[in-house]
């Protein structure tokens, strides 16, 4: 999302309250969505539920192409379309719904830093496992990603996506990493999150913030998604506070939906 639209939106947004018919678009839940997209989508849903804003989830096979930034998920509120968690947080803040308003400057800095930690390590690792691990890419990612399309478009789109992700991995220096090294990095990230959470209910004391939504989205998705091996999920399970954190948010905000 560009800054100009952001500024424009925040002016408009402030005037209008949150409508009842807000929609969140994501790829098909059963046949198409991949781990990383599912995690991002769940993070946004958790964030909106924490804010108490109703949103209806709609699955579309072409959600990736409908999104203004090409990324999933995106929400359609009134006459505006916003994609990804960061801009959505800005957008709801303009409408007067913020989870991090009670934090002081240092806490806010730390919250943003931890959110980038999740994006930088966990999201990248999910993309790596999906597209750079040959077993997962062949058995799960490529067939699922291309499931709505017929031959030969399905192969072309899946390989195009894989090619793009691999180039990105090379650019950020992950190209030479082995799967084992990626798992180690992920463990390091889990450990950092676990240390930060400690025995608290949420990352910053009693109230959930967007960081909690983001971490929940990723951890819960990793725990509940079956891949060719469940190494990622196993590595979370050694941190009991992260597990109970996921269970707590699920019970508080998703009661009766996922259970």
């Amino acid at each position: 999302m560009s800054l100009a639209t952001e500024a424009f939106m925040s002016q408009i947004a402030a005037a209008e309250p949150w409508p009842e018919n807000a929609t969140l678009y994501q790829p098909l839940r059963e046949d198409q969505i991949l781990l990383s997209d599912c995690a991002s989508s769940l993070a946004v849903q958790a964030f909106l539920r924490m804010c108490g804003l109703p949103v209806q989830v709609v699955c579309r096979a072409n959600a990736e192409y409908m999104s203004p930034s090409g990324k999933i998920p995106f929400i359609h509120v009134g006459n505006q379309v916003v994609s990804e968690l960061g801009p959505i947080v800005q957008f709801t803040k303009a409408k007067g719904h913020s989870l991090s308003a009670g934090l002081d400057d240092v806490q806010r800095a730390e919250m943003k830093a931890y959110m980038e930690l999740v994006n930088n390590m966990l999201l990248t690792a999910e993309l790596y496992v999906q597209w750079c691990d040959d077993a997962t890419a062949t058995e799960i990612s490529r067939p699922r990603y291309s499931s709505p399309y017929s031959w030969p478009l399905n192969n072309i789109l899946a390989f195009q996506k894989q090619w793009e992700v691999r180039r990105k991995m090379n650019a950020i220096g992950w190209g030479g990493k082995t799967l084992e090294k990626v798992y180690e990095d992920v463990s390091q990230c889990f450990q950092a999150l676990s240390q930060r959470l400690g025995t608290q209910t949420y990352f910053f004391a009693k109230q959930p913030t967007e960081l909690d939504a983001l971490v929940f989205g990723h951890l819960f998705t990793i725990l509940t998604t079956r891949l060719t091996n469940n190494e990622l999920a196993e590595r979370i399970k050694s941190y009991s506070n992260l597990l109970s954190f996921c269970r707590r948010i699920e019970q508080t905000y998703f009661e009766g939906k996922h259970s």
Partner: protein, 327 residues
């Protein structure tokens, strides 16, 4: 104890021990941890064992190039600057390093390699001046295309156009990141306690080039100068850990007296080298033309043979041409 390991880095300038962020991170960490490395400052990435800078050639003869790998390697050698950190502080370090990689690093790439005035007047010029003769003509633009490709992949979209939209976004993110770092640092001397850690090395590596470079378009620098604690933090580390670097005087003295001018105006023996390169290029072209020209000449003659106008002299001509071809 074995001989110290060799670290290859970009040369320094502008009062910095090295001009590249990655090299600065590694250098600062090595200083903080007291790791004895034999330093090789070079300005030709092709002379590095991995083709990239920085590069650490370890005693096991492996070559490491990513700053995080080098730091982990040094840590395993018991050169650990993060020894005093609690587990939570370690987690915070990791988080702030991610923040810089996501928000500040893309803006750094853009400001040095994407912004055209900065690239032409400072980045390309510096690299061209410091690289050896034939490389300086193409290596800077090759590095630029690599960096811009990296930026495009990092941002995950195709908006490397000139609309200024990308620039605004990148600078917005970078300003926010600097503000957050400044808030986190507060009035402390270092990020955690009284001694510097790996996070300090990363912050220094990212901010020092912004603070010290003399770019025509210095929006990042202006913003950083307004954050007093962060700019003091960088100057402090420079003063404490890199005092009177030999390259510092050498670098500034060769650069400051030179007037503003074209990109390659002050290369020594410029005319001579241009003349030589023209000779070499001409020689290459001529020899190529000669080789391929003879071959095509041959073909031409055989073609002529195949369509004989008059049948009589064909055998004689044929023999004659074969001899010519062999000779």
């Amino acid at each position: 104890m074995a001989a110290p390991e060799e670290l290859f880095c970009w040369e320094g300038d502008w009062g910095l021990p090295s001009i590249s962020t990655e090299c600065l991170v590694v250098l600062a960490y090595a200083k903080f941890a007291g790791a004895p490395l034999s330093l090789r400052k070079i300005s030709n990435p092709w002379r590095s064992p991995s083709g990239l800078l920085p590069a650490l050639r370890t005693n096991q003869k492996t070559v490491l190039s990513r700053p995080s790998e080098i730091i982990i390697h040094l840590r395993k050698q018991k050169y650990n600057a993060d020894f005093d950190l609690s587990a939570k502080e370690g987690a915070d370090s990791l988080a702030f390093i991610s923040l810089m990689e996501e928000k500040l690093a893309p803006a750094l790439i853009y400001t040095f390699w994407g912004e055209s005035a900065n690239y032409v007047e400072v980045t390309r010029r510096w690299h061209a001046e410091h690289m050896p003769f034939p490389l300086r003509f193409f290596l800077p633009s090759w590095i630029q295309s690599q960096q811009l490709e990296k930026l495009r992949l990092l941002r995950g979209d195709d908006v490397l156009d000139v609309s200024g939209e990308l620039e605004k976004e990148l600078y917005h993110d970078a300003f926010e990141c600097m503000n957050l770092l400044s808030q986190r640092l507060g009035s402390h001397k270092f990020f955690f306690g009284d001694s510097p850690s790996s996070l300090d090395a990363y912050v220094f590596g990212h901010l020092a080039p912004i603070l010290k470079s003399k770019l025509p378009n210095g929006k990042l620098q202006q913003h950083l100068r307004n954050l007093d604690n962060l700019s003091n933090f960088c100057s402090n580390i420079l003063l404490l850990y890199f005092p009177r670097d030999p390259n510092r005087e050498g670098g500034t003295s060769t650069v400051t007296p030179q007037p503003e001018g074209g990109d390659l105006d002050h290369v020594p023996n410029k005319r001579m080298k241009q003349f030589l390169s023209v000779i070499v290029a001409m020689g290459a072209m001529l020899s190529y033309a000669l080789v391929t020209g003879m071959v095509s000449l041959e073909h031409f003659h055989t073609k002529v043979q195949e369509e004989p106008q008059d049948s009589q002299p064909i055998t004689a001509q044929h023999h004659y041409q074969e001899e010519e071809g062999e000779g």
